[in-house]
């Protein structure tokens, strides 16, 4: 057995700001080990985003605890949590991930600068990362000059920049055509294999699901099934 990287216990989330409280997650248990490539699936409204937000420390569960790499993030004060995310968690959202006024180089370099990486090392690393996502020639393009798929690949490169333990991606392919979607998934799978980076991504795209090695299905805020499969 590998090292546990994500460990969620009894995580429940109820949104109380709404007229009728919404129970988005109910007693979710989740255990993910280093190097896994996991798809989180389920119908719209089943709680996928909510769960990813809890794991990424973007929101607090109503009850339950979340450990990431052994740290109980549900207990971290805000600035510590932001730092923890900077060092350990990469995020890819559905769309508009990048700062529109910055080039690919600057968008990726930004994270490295937050980490206080020297200029020389930054340059090297940015190139390396863009090579990983096969976008070296777009190093000086702004997001507006990139296709949706290319933007998502730059976003993945940025998520990788800080050498995180895990990358959380909330429907990263939802706005992509199927070719770009499978291209993005191939890149993610390659990074998972070569760099041993743990991926947890939500999706409801059947072709994307097929690329995962483990599929966790949520229904009504509960884990409905959790199966290992052979990716295509």
């Amino acid at each position: 057995m590998g090292k546990t990287i994500i460990d969620a216990h009894n995580v429940s989330k109820t949104y109380k700001e709404t007229a009728v409280p919404v129970r988005a997650l109910q007693d979710v248990h989740l255990h993910i080990e280093e190097g896994e490539f996991v798809a989180l699936v389920g119908p719209s409204g089943s709680g996928k985003s909510t769960l990813l937000n809890m794991i990424g420390g973007l929101d607090e569960p109503t009850s339950g605890t979340v450990y990431v790499d052994g740290v109980e993030i549900t207990k971290l004060p805000e600035n510590k949590l932001i730092d923890f995310r900077l060092q350990n968690i990469g995020f890819v959202f559905q769309s508009f991930n990048l700062i529109p006024v910055l080039t690919s180089r600057e968008n990726i370099g930004f994270v490295l600068q937050l980490q206080k990486v020297s200029k020389k090392d930054r340059e090297k690393r940015v190139l390396e990362l863009l090579r990983e996502v096969d976008l070296e020639e777009k190093i000086d393009s702004r997001p507006g000059e990139l296709s949706g798929g290319q933007q998502q690949r730059v976003a993945v490169a940025r998520a990788l920049a800080s050498k995180p333990k895990i990358i959380l991606a909330d429907e990263p392919t939802a706005n992509l055509d199927s070719k770009s979607a499978s291209n993005l998934l191939d890149i993610m799978a390659k990074l998972n294999k070569e760099e041993k980076i743990t991926f947890l991504f939500s999706t409801h795209d059947q072709r994307v699901i097929e690329k995962a090695r483990r599929v966790i299905t949520l229904v009504d805020g509960k884990v409905d099934s959790d199966v290992n499969q052979k990716p295509t």
Binding site: N53, G56, L58, D59, E78, N79, I82, D83, R85, L86, Q87, G90, F91, F93, F96, N97, I99, P100, V101, L102, F110, V111, Q113, L114, Q115, R158, A159, S162
Partner: protein
């Protein structure tokens, strides 16, 4: 990095930024021009008034101001005058012996102020010679001659070449009486002075009062109105403050100082309103700039950017926008003030007559005081910082999930 990011951010909506920059530019330009005119007019007024009356600063024997008698006069001191003139801010000195006397001509008698002056210094400092409307100016510092205000001449019914009798009190209770030839009539700006003053060469006056080489005051002229307090301190440091008192025109003419203060408080309101208007514009722009980037902020916080750094970027954006407008405004203001100083605006018509009646040049003066420019810049910077507090505070309270979902 943050500087660059802020700079790029403000040009996301270049038109909006330019409009905001332009509004700051016009406000600063207006404020500077306005301050420059009002300060210029005051400075000119002060200069005119003090050059005929107290000077910017006066040195007296200690206690003279409270008891203005010739017995509180002091011995003129060459060394002291030299010391004072060594100060580069000091442009001139006017030694005076100021007394009161009864003047009579034919059957008319009137109490008057007798100003013993050094004809050369006064000519240099306030061109007293040019105020002579009839007759001539003093021929020497010891001539037995007097100049009288035109108002006084009318009241006494005296003309040039008439002889006036003066009776007063001299130094240490000696009597001072004499007959003097009126060589000229002066038209002075201040009506008060015009109907009450008699000028006399200093030596003549000292002799008349049995006060050889004594002065009641030594008036000091300065190159710049704003050097008042610093010059006072400088002078106090070189003279014996046990024996002498140094007073500013503000202390000697508190009414004029109060008038100017009261008058300028109105100007502060005008400028205040100007800045309130641009504040609204800048604030609106800042709000739009931050709220339309809410989601982006959420993502930045998610990937590890601390909120205070985001607030800092917003502060930078606010300062950049306003500083651009401000610097352009200062540049434009400098240009306007410079041009109008080189090519002054002349009054015409009745306003011109009023000015000339009071002995002022009918010109709008502009103050080039650097403080005006620095103050406006500081005000704008403080405003920009204050206005970015609210969006900054909003960012500090931002929850990344909400922002990303927005």
């Amino acid at each position: 990095m943050f500087l660059k990011l802020a700079w790029l951010n403000i040009w996301r909506n270049g038109r909006r930024t330019m409009i905001t920059v332009a509004s700051v530019f016009f406000a600063v330009l207006l404020a500077i021009t306005f301050r420059s005119v009002t300060d210029g007019v005051y400075e000119n007024m002060i200069h005119n008034v003090v050059s005929y009356s107290s000077g910017y600063l006066q040195i007296h024997k200690k206690g003279y101001w409270d008891e203005q008698s010739i017995d509180n006069s002091f011995e003129a001191d060459e060394e002291l005058s030299k010391n004072l003139l060594d100060n580069p801010k000091v442009t001139g000195l006017m030694p005076r012996l100021e007394t009161f006397a009864l003047s009579s001509f034919a059957d008319k008698t009137k109490g008057v102020m007798v100003l013993g002056i050094d004809p050369t210094s006064e000519k240099k400092v306030n061109q007293l010679n040019e105020k002579v409307v009839e007759g001539i100016y003093f021929e020497s510092n010891s001539a037995e001659q007097i100049l009288i205000g035109s108002g006084l001449a009318e009241q006494l019914n005296a003309k040039v070449n008439d002889t006036l009798v003066l009776i007063g009190q001299g130094y240490h209770a000696s009597s001072a009486a004499g007959k003097f030839n009126i060589v000229g009539i002066l038209k002075l700006g201040s009506p008060e002075l015009n109907s009450n003053v008699i000028y006399m060469p200093l030596k003549t006056s000292q002799y008349l009062h049995g006060a050889e080489n004594r002065l009641t005051s030594l008036s000091i002229m300065l190159g710049k109105t704003s050097d008042l307090e610093s010059s006072k301190e400088a002078i106090e440091s070189v003279i014996d403050t046990e024996a002498y008192e140094v007073m500013t025109w503000k202390q000697m003419m508190p009414e004029m100082d109060q008038f100017i203060e009261a008058d300028s408080s109105g100007h502060y309101i005008v400028i205040g309103i100007l800045y309130i208007i641009i504040s609204f514009g800048l604030f609106g722009t800042l709000l739009m700039m931050t709220f339309e980037r809410n989601r982006e902020f959420g993502i930045l916080i998610a990937i590890g950017m601390k909120k205070h750094l985001l607030a800092y970027v917003i502060l930078l954006e606010s300062i950049m926008i306003s500083l651009m407008g401000c610097l352009m405004g200062v540049l434009g203001g400098t240009l306007i003030v410079h041009l109008l100083t080189e090519y002054p605006v002349q009054f015409s018509g009745s306003l011109r007559e009023v000015y000339e009646d009071y002995g002022f040049e009918p010109i709008i003066y502009f103050s080039g005081n650097i403080r005006i420019f620095i103050y406006q810049t500081l005000i704008v910077l403080v405003l920009a910082s204050l206005l970015s507090l609210y969006p900054g505070f909003k960012v500090l309270r931002l929850r990344p999930v909400d922002a990303i979902n927005s």
